[in-house]
């Protein structure tokens, strides 16, 4: 870090810290206060100037960021910083909250998902979501995984559906544990298994992006390790956005990390750099445990 840069970041007033504009994509200039590189090569998701208001509260303030294909990006930040809110914008789950207003643009493969012509059902088939608390349906394990393919009409017959269920459970690393009891209720599994079942359910519709909202916060360390390994494997086929409170987890599973603070996106960069060499004072404070 140069002295000049250091002076920049020690200045806490964020509007003084302008983007360094080290964009790798020529021609794309993003007008943002975020430190670091918000853009990537051939992104799957492109968010620009996203603002979210809950009634009076300004929850997300002018956030611009790209999500790369086949990689994991972690959103970190103190509670209430808006990382989950932003995550839920990506598959429009905020639509269900009355008084939530989203402005700006979020593009999935170049198409604005907030456009009137965008079908919300189709969007959610392409952007899957795993929630904080494992929430399998109170149905059998098989039915949990088969639900998505069934409502979207992905399987022509029972054999296809069996195939999809098996593949998804295998990808989620759960097949060996549940193959003999697919008819048992999904809610009867352990917490870690339930969460992997939810992941299997999400990937059964073969989405492009998987959003994970603190997927391990309700799990014990062993189950967490399993889910983290799984995330690493899933990266081969999917873009993954994970919100986490655990910085170790972010460091372990992600390639890029974005730090949110009070609705602002403070800094984005390669995970290693964020954790070893943060460029913004707030990021550094958070990483080193001075608050948050």
């Amino acid at each position: 870090m140069t002295i000049e840069q250091h002076q920049h970041v020690t200045n806490v007033a964020r509007d003084v810290v302008f983007n360094e504009s080290d964009h790798s994509r020529p021609g794309e200039q993003v007008d943002t206060k975020t430190v670091g590189q918000v853009t990537v090569e051939a992104p799957v998701i492109t968010a620009r100037h996203v603002n979210v208001h809950y009634s009076e509260k300004h929850a997300i303030k002018d956030v611009s960021i790209d999500v790369a294909r086949n990689s994991v990006i972690a959103f970190i930040g103190p509670s209430g910083c808006g990382k989950s809110t932003f995550l839920r914008c990506i598959n429009r789950m905020n639509d269900t909250i009355p008084n939530a207003k989203v402005s700006g643009s979020i593009q999935l493969d170049g198409i604005d998902i907030y456009d009137r012509s965008q079908d919300i059902v189709q969007l959610r088939a392409r952007v899957g979501m795993v929630f904080q608390k494992p929430n399998p349906f109170p149905k059998s394990i098989y039915e949990n995984v088969a639900y998505g393919p069934r409502i979207h009409g992905l399987a022509g017959n029972r054999a296809d559906l069996d195939e999809i269920v098996q593949t998804s459970l295998r990808k989620a690393g759960l097949w060996e544990e549940v193959k003999d009891r697919l008819d048992n209720p999904g809610t009867g599994l352990s917490g870690g298994q339930q969460q992997r079942l939810c992941i299997a359910r999400a990937i059964a519709v073969d989405p492009e992006v998987i959003l994970m909202d603190e997927p391990c916060s309700a799990l014990d360390p062993i189950a967490t390790a399993k889910v983290e390994d799984l995330i690493d494997e899933l990266r081969e086929n999917y873009a993954i956005v994970i919100v986490t409170h655990s910085m170790q987890q972010a460091a372990r599973v992600s390639q890029r990390t974005a730090y949110f603070h009070l609705g602002d996106l403070i800094e984005v960069g390669p995970t290693e750099q964020i954790f070893t060499n943060p460029r913004h004072k707030l990021t550094e404070d958070y990483i080193t445990g001075r608050f948050g």
């Binding site: 269900t96 059902v121 088939a125 929630f131 349906f137 359910r201």
Partner: protein
Amino acid sequence: MTKTAMAMTTTQARVAASLRRRYAAEMRFRAYGILAICIGLAFVAFLFTSIISKGYTSFQQTYIALDIDYSAELIDPEGTRAAQTLQAADYEAVIKASLKEQFPEVEGRASLRHLYGMISNAGEQLLRDRVVAKPSLIGTHERVWLLADDHVDTFFKGQIDRKLPESDRPISDEEIVWVDQWKAQHRAELRFNTAFFTTGDSREPEQAGVAGALAGSALTLLVTLLLSFPIGVAAAIYLEEFAPRNVWTDIIEVNINNLAAVPSIVFGLLGLAMFIQFFGMPRSAPLVGGLVLSLMTLPTIIIAGRASLKAVPPSIREAALGMGASRVQMVAHHVLPLALPGMLTGTIIGMARALGESAPLLMIGMVAFIVDVPHSLSDPSTVLPVQIYLWARSPERAFVERTSGAIMVLLGFLLVMNAVAVILRNRFERRWS
């Protein structure tokens, strides 16, 4: 002892002192609870003992065996055996002849009237049916068990004290003699009262049954259930899952809550004005009764339905929406199955209230005296609670046991209905983590 240790002991002493108070309060609370339950149970036990002890006799009826002489002169003097003649024949005379034959010593108008009044006039119909079905009976003798009149029945069941002076009891001294004589000859006995469950109301207590009221209640409740359950569930789902939260939905919610508290007779007046006077539907019909009771039951079902929808964890909704389910799919596949047990509970409560309701039905004419058992939704009929009310007002002693008998039937109906609902609910009940 260190300072902290001292402080510890005083704190603990205080805790110990407060503990005793806490335990005492807890014991008191438990005692109140047990007392309340005991009082409740005592009332229920009293109610049941009183009803069953008064009502069980209505399931039995006194029958008297008479040697009937199907004399050709009385039934078919011309010997044509034409169906019309057999139908129109005077079977009362046949019974009277048989009685006269058994008690030849009885003379005088008053005594004969007493003698002939011992047998219910249902006997004529019984003999008519037998002869019409089998005309070859004419000219033969047969011992037939005939229904006794209600005052004989009441006396035979021991509900009239024979030590009372004759003027104070509905049965005369000579009638008591005849009954005793029959009893000694094994010509009088109590038999299971099938007629109570197969016939409608009657002016004659011994012939009155609950079948009409039972069928009326069943038809009325069928209409109520078919209307109020789907509409109530749909309204609850719309209000809870789809409707925007604004002033209008607030007003609707307040109104539904108020409707649930409106006295039922008001719904009766509404039904009279709207369904009968405006739409011209038939009076006293289960259709109109069901409509009126639906109006009354709807708010209960909607409120219970909304409460049980609210109780479904939001994580299930998120999971479904996150998978790309539409709102309707979310509700139909996940929320409704979880909310259904609660909705059924609300429906049971509403239907039980509807079953016991009489006031609104009085307004639409279901209080009329109706002998026929209704077979369709537009047949005039009455319902069990109204039947109970009608019998409770009747002066005959024999209607007292019938009133209690009808209450037992009503409670049995309620029990069956609730049992079915509970079975259905357990079937739908699923657990979520």
